[in-house]
């Protein structure tokens, strides 16, 4: 075991450019934000547990559902996927780091600062309260005076910088830093899905940036983009938001697909069934994902032709998604299943994702959608795909890869307890929402009257959500316990096939002393296993990029500028810009290796 992988004090973490440390920092931050978003959800559920409840005011309720959505999407699930990208991609492709290690550190810091910036709104006059979708003209100064929406507008732009920089980094890394012999069609499926997700981020995020910029100018400089009185177009916002927002759905789910495509073959002792189909259907999903945004807008009246085209496009996505599901099941078929916790979560994922996928096909049909839109049926649907789908898959990935990160196994019994608690309570929380939605309970309202037939289902859902919260505590306990007294993982506790498992756990800071060579898919399962000893002691120790404080300082600049914009203080904005300029020049003239 390498002594210097995670050694050093706080300062060494603040200046690190090591992809593994950055991955761990993403993980810790994302888990903390996941709990913040979870607490917001619990408050929402407690309020809705009984009719005409007065626990939470309508105003606070609006803040809570806005921040719950924004936090879970931008501060919990995306960064959690990012934690996996960071830790795993260089290891999976046989590289020593990402293409731009300092840019990678910058991406992390601006994500963290952006997230703290957004959440600091709770302390200063209230959090954003116009929904995570921020529909115009609810966000205009007329209907949202004060700085709550400004927090949201500026915070999301900061997070956008992080996503774009990180996606660019991973595209270049995956294209250019693959080990010899690691052709595209030999890459692990998780690496493939990371590549596709990064392209989606690069191409989709600018659409919301344009929308946010217009909204910011409307609020600050009096432009009229979303002001109908001056000829502006409120629907333009919905288009811009969903041109980003729908690919965003795939940004959240494709990494999960990648995790599942790694976990299932490992625990079935069988190579992935239909590898090319898994990859190409991922490509197709990413491509089609750009052409279906208006299915979020069936209710605004785009006309029958537009609705039909977007409806058909949406239904088409079911085909490549179905292909993947059949391939995963076919991988397990006839395999020697090893029923460890990661496989539990992976199978849970398949089951829950199918339910969410099927309800998705239901409201791909505009007439059906008109009945369901803005009801709890939609809430049920997207929690089945995002929680039942992505979060289950990410837990499968955590139980699978955390031993590689820490060098210690998680406890199997606690893991299975976590799974069953989470599985049961998840369904208890969200399945009743299908019925609530069918019975007409609207979303985003802070209470309801008794006697409408909503009481029992809401009570069940609230009880389920408390249990769901408790299941997360089991996970945290398991994690803490494994740091203290988990059994050592060794190099390859699951007997898995990809390159990261050829290294010690945790890997040394340079990953591979000798760059591996790859003669085919599943390299460690090939005759003779890894073809190159990655720890050949006769090879010289590689020189790695030196730590740098500039990325963190550079990330501070835009946050200072955003604070200045919030305070309407041009001076503070200029301080932020000055920090940016100084750190860019400092960074640029500092050699990568010193």
């Amino acid at each position: 075991m390498s002594h210097d992988t995670y050694g050093g004090g706080v300062r060494s973490w603040m200046t690190t450019v090591d992809h593994k440390r950055i991955g761990i920092m993403y993980f810790v931050s994302a888990i903390v934000f996941f709990f913040v978003g979870g607490l917001e959800a619990l408050l929402i559920r407690l309020q809705l547990g009984s009719p005409e409840n007065t626990l939470i005011s309508a105003d606070l309720y609006n803040q809570l559902f806005t921040m719950h959505g924004t936090t879970m999407v931008f501060l919990a699930v995306m960064p959690l996927s990012s934690a996996f990208f960071n830790f795993l991609i260089p290891l999976q492709i046989g590289a020593r780091d990402v293409a731009f290690p300092r840019l990678n550190a910058f991406s992390f810091w601006i994500f963290l600062f952006g997230g703290l910036f957004l959440n600091s709104s709770f302390l200063f006059g209230g959090a954003p309260d116009a929904g995570w979708f921020g529909y115009a003209n609810l966000t205009s100064t007329q209907y949202s005076p004060g700085i709550r929406v400004d927090y949201w507008v500026l915070g999301l732009q900061l997070l956008g910088i992080s996503s774009i920089a990180s996606a660019l980094n991973f595209i270049v890394t995956i294209i250019n830093l693959r080990a010899p012999g690691m052709r595209f069609m030999r890459m692990p499926p998780f690496t493939w899905m990371t590549l596709l997700t990064s392209f989606l981020l690069i191409l989709a995020f600018p659409a919301i940036t344009v929308g946010l910029v217009m909204l910011m100018f409307d609020r600050t400089f009096g432009t009229n983009f979303f002001n109908p009185a001056a000829g502006g177009d409120v629907l333009l916002w919905q288009h811009l938001f969903w041109i980003f927002g729908h690919p965003e759905v795939y940004i959240l789910i494709l990494p999960a697909f990648g995790v599942i495509s790694e976990v299932i073959p490992t625990f079935s002792r069988k190579t992935l069934f239909g590898y090319p189909f898994i990859i190409y259907s991922g490509v197709l999903i990413a491509f089609l994902g750009f052409g279906v945004w208006a299915h979020h807008m069936f209710a605004v009246g785009l006309g029958p032709i537009a609705n039909s085209v977007f409806s058909a496009g949406t239904m088409l996505i079911a085909i490549p998604t179905g292909v993947k599901i059949f391939n995963w099941i076919a991988t397990m078929w006839g395999g020697r299943l090893r029923m460890d916790t990661p496989l539990y979560f992976a199978i849970g994922f398949i089951a829950m994702f199918i339910i969410g996928g099927l309800s998705g096909i239901m409201h791909a049909s505009p007439p059906t959608d008109l009945q369901q839109t803005d009801t709890y049926f939609i809430v049920a649907h997207f929690h089945y795909v995002l929680f039942g789908g992505t979060v289950f898959a990410l837990f499968a990935g955590m139980y699978y890869w955390i031993p590689k990160v820490t060098g210690r196994l998680l406890h199997e019994g606690l893991g299975k307890l976590h799974f069953w608690l989470m599985f049961v309570s998840f369904n208890l929380t969200f399945f009743p929402m299908h019925f609530l939605g069918m019975n007409g309970m609207p979303r985003r309202t802070f209470t309801y009257l008794p006697g409408l037939g909503f009481d029992l289902m809401n009570l069940v859902s609230t009880a389920g959500s408390l249990l769901l919260g408790a299941s997360m505590l089991v996970f945290v306990w398991n994690l803490v316990r494994s740091f203290r007294r988990g059994s050592p993982a060794g190099r390859n506790p699951w007997n898995a096939a990809t390159l990261e498992w050829s290294l010690p756990s945790p890997p040394p800071h340079y990953n591979f002393r000798t760059i591996p060579e790859v003669g085919g898919r599943d390299p460690l399962w090939r005759p003779g296993g890894a073809e190159v000893d990655p720890e050949d002691p006769t090879a010289p120790e590689p020189v790695m990029p030196s730590p740098s404080g500039w990325p963190m300082l550079l990330a501070l600049g835009p946050v200072i500028a955003a604070t200045g914009a919030l305070l309407s203080s041009l001076l503070v904005v200029f301080v932020g810009v000055a920090v940016v300029v100084v750190s860019v020049y400092g960074w640029a003239f500092q050699p990568l290796e010193r």
Binding site: A95, N176, G181, A207, V210, G231, G232, D233, E517, P542
Partner: protein, 200 residues
Amino acid sequence: MTSHSVDAGASRYEPTTFKVKDKKLGMWIFLASEVMFFTGLIGSYIILRWGAATPWPVPGEVLNVPITAGNTFLLICSSVTMVKAFAAIEDGNQKMLKVWLLATAIIGACFVGVQAYEYTELVHHGFLPSSGLYGSTFFTMTGFHGFHVTVGVLCLLWVAIKAFRGGYTQADHQGVEIIGLYWHFVDLVWIILFTIVYLI
């Protein structure tokens, strides 16, 4: 190539690295994102303008087209000087590299200066970002372009400093090529903006 990158020279397998180097590939991908950004801006402009209920001002009614036409010519010239800078270092000509880089930065700065003058004049005549959809779209689109030119000038200055320190050689001058890619992109965007905002 930095030492942490993969050295595929000695392997019996084919190298998997693309012929395009990391930083240049990174710039191309960044530009893909930029294309989407300006597509969003221009697409919104098209929707707002051709969906507007009130008539849109005809060219020349509000904006001073001849001055901006001259400014457009300036910016196109700066693309030529950028190409010259790149060609100079391809030939190993250090002196002309510095000359052409500085010329590009200066012309770029002049473009921003003329744009600032244009804005001041417009504001004097009461034309503001809040002046209807026309003002909103005009200032947002040209403003973002001007911001891109400003960033480009700052980057050009950095490349020029490095050139004066002898940081580029005939064999290795990736920085000049990368800033060139960005600069030509910004130039191209302006030609589109000038056409749809000033001429049509």
